[in-house]
């Protein structure tokens, strides 16, 4: 489902963000990517989102060679990836319903279906009663649920989450992680970049540890490794 072959990414400033990284994530897996700041985790997400191009190597996602995509093909590719960010990235001037419906508008889902799908996904993330609220009227945990609903409403086969609990308290962090686990159990491949040691250690999932742009450990039912 996701394959990286000898992928390197160097920024113009100097030190490589990723250095000859290879990894394979199968369909239906739940994977944590952990590591200190500057270890290359966010660069990995940006490469998968095709926000950045690798300096060398090959990235395949759903049998698509990501680096060879032309500008016009990128939107269609991104629709196959649900994405959740640490800072939620919701459209502030739209309510919960409109934020989620927007993802469906993009793929030109008929209005009738949108009216059916959005309440359904909002109920899945536990926000059925707050569909009229604006992002600023919601707690951090609730905003992240909206972002999750938006990421999932088009049923992407892959969900990328970049520090999804970074701005949340422990209770909300757990709730979001439980939701991600449920989503994974329904068949979606989930890749979570995180710093949250407690959650990583408790969930017993595959853990890829990165340091200075290199994968230093890759373990099934792994734990958060502090000192490399």
């Amino acid at each position: 489902m996701i394959t990286l072959e000898n992928v390197s990414k160097a920024y113009s400033t100097g030190a490589p963000a990723l250095n000859n990284v290879s990894l394979k994530i199968e369909a239906g897996e739940f994977v944590f990517v952990v590591g200190d700041s500057g270890s290359g985790k966010s660069t990995l997400i940006k490469l998968l989102l095709r926000e950045l191009l690798p300096t060398s190597g090959k990235i395949m996602v759903n049998d698509i060679d990501v680096a060879s995509l032309r500008h016009k093909q990128i939107p269609k590719y991104r629709r196959k990836l649900g994405v959740v960010f640490q800072d939620f990235r919701l459209l502030k001037d739209r309510n919960v319903y409109e934020n989620v419906a927007f993802a469906q508008r993009i793929v030109q889902t008929p209005s009738k279906e949108i009216k059916k799908n959005v309440p359904s996904i909002l109920s899945t993330v536990g926000l059925a009663g707050k569909y009229k609220a604006r992002p600023k009227q919601l707690s951090g945990g609730e905003q992240q649920r909206v972002a999750l609903a938006r990421a999932l409403v088009n049923n992407p086969p892959i969900l990328l989450a970049d520090e999804p609990t970074g701005n949340l308290d422990p209770k909300n962090s757990w709730e979001i992680m439980k939701l991600l686990e449920e989503i994974n159990e329904r068949g979606t491949t989930v890749l979570v970049v995180t710093h949250n040691r407690e959650i990583v250690n408790a969930m017993k999932k595959r853990v890829i540890t990165m340091n200075k742009g290199v994968i230093v450990n890759d373990e099934k039912e792994g734990t958060y490794i502090d000192e490399i």
Partner: protein, 308 residues
């Protein structure tokens, strides 16, 4: 979780949604929208006022030019056929607007009215100006007067050609001066307007860079992101150009009415353009500038932020 169908072709509902979003955006960003509309309105108002003044000035000069005639007198004993031939030869010239034939009797009548008044009675039915039949030749362009006079003087049967060189030269020079000056000032006004309006549009969209980024991250096409902004830009441009047009329409009518009633002597001497005549040019130009800047401003600014 069941897989939902993903639609790829452009739907009518998407088009309606896009237009609706463009309208909704105007209200969502009401301060930016108001600032943009105000800038467009202020610039086009200045432009409209200046254009109205210049158009009227040119019209007055043109009217004066149209009144400038070259008078062609004939040799004694010339046949009526030759007079008619000379008339048709002059009429064929490109610079000639129209030609009036004034018979000797009509010339005498006019002379009497202009200069003699009741003293003309002493002449009885005699016409002391038997050779005063002439053509009054009106020109399209008074700057061509010299070449016309040279041509007419070369024609057989023409005795003398009267012209008003000073008037022609003054009007011709004035027309050119107004033309150059107004073109220069209008160009500066337009450049300033375009700069100010584009800046306002650019700032307005730049603060929404994050919104554009979010849309792109979740798979929106460039068209889907850009279309509401462009519609918003067009509508702001339209509103921004309609308002000054409406104000100028009202002001113009009132000013013309005021001048006509308060300065009746002036309004007899000078003819002003009607508001409809001014708006024949001013309205399409203002709408094109307003809508055009709204369109291109939003289109090009979104383009800068869209490559995510």
């Amino acid at each position: 979780m069941t897989r939902r169908k993903v639609h790829t072709s452009m739907r009518f509902s998407t088009l309606i949604y896009t237009i609706k979003q463009g309208i909704v955006n105007i209200f969502r960003n009401k301060w930016y929208s108001l600032a943009s509309m105000a800038t467009i309105s202020a610039c086009l108002f200045m432009f409209g006022i200046f254009y109205s003044l210049v158009a009227n000035f040119q019209y007055i000069v043109k009217e004066a030019q149209d009144g400038v005639a070259v008078t062609v007198f004939f040799e004694e004993g010339i046949s009526d056929e030759r007079i008619a031939e000379i008339g048709s030869l002059i009429e064929k010239r490109a610079e000639v607007s129209h030609v009036n034939f004034v018979s000797a009797d009509a010339a005498w009548e006019s002379f009497k009215d202009d200069y003699l008044g009741e003293y003309a009675d002493g002449f009885g039915d005699d016409n002391p100006l038997p050779n005063s039949a002439n053509y009054e030749v009106y020109l399209n362009d008074v700057s061509m007067q010299d070449s016309l006079v040279t041509y007419v003087e070369s024609l057989d049967g023409v005795r003398r050609v009267n012209r008003s060189e000073v008037t022609a030269n003054t009007l011709s020079g004035m027309n050119k001066l107004i033309g150059y000056a107004s073109a220069g000032i209008i160009a500066i006004l337009l450049a300033v307007s375009i700069f100010l309006i584009s800046n306002t549009v650019t700032i307005g969209i730049s603060v929404r860079k994050e919104e554009i980024n979010i849309m792109k991250y979740i798979g929106a096409t460039d068209f889907f992101v850009r279309a509401p902004f462009v519609i918003e830009g067009i509508l702001i441009g339209l509103a921004g150009s309609v308002l000054p047009l409406a104000i100028i329409y009202v002001i113009y009518n009132n000013v013309i009415a005021y001048v006509s009633t308060r300065f009746s002597m002036l309004s007899q001497l000078l003819k002003f353009l009607t508001v409809d005549q001014v708006f024949q040019v001013l309205m399409p130009i203002s709408l094109i500038i307003g809508i055009g800047i709204g369109f291109f401003g939003s289109f090009s600014t979104v383009r800068k932020h869209i490559r995510v």
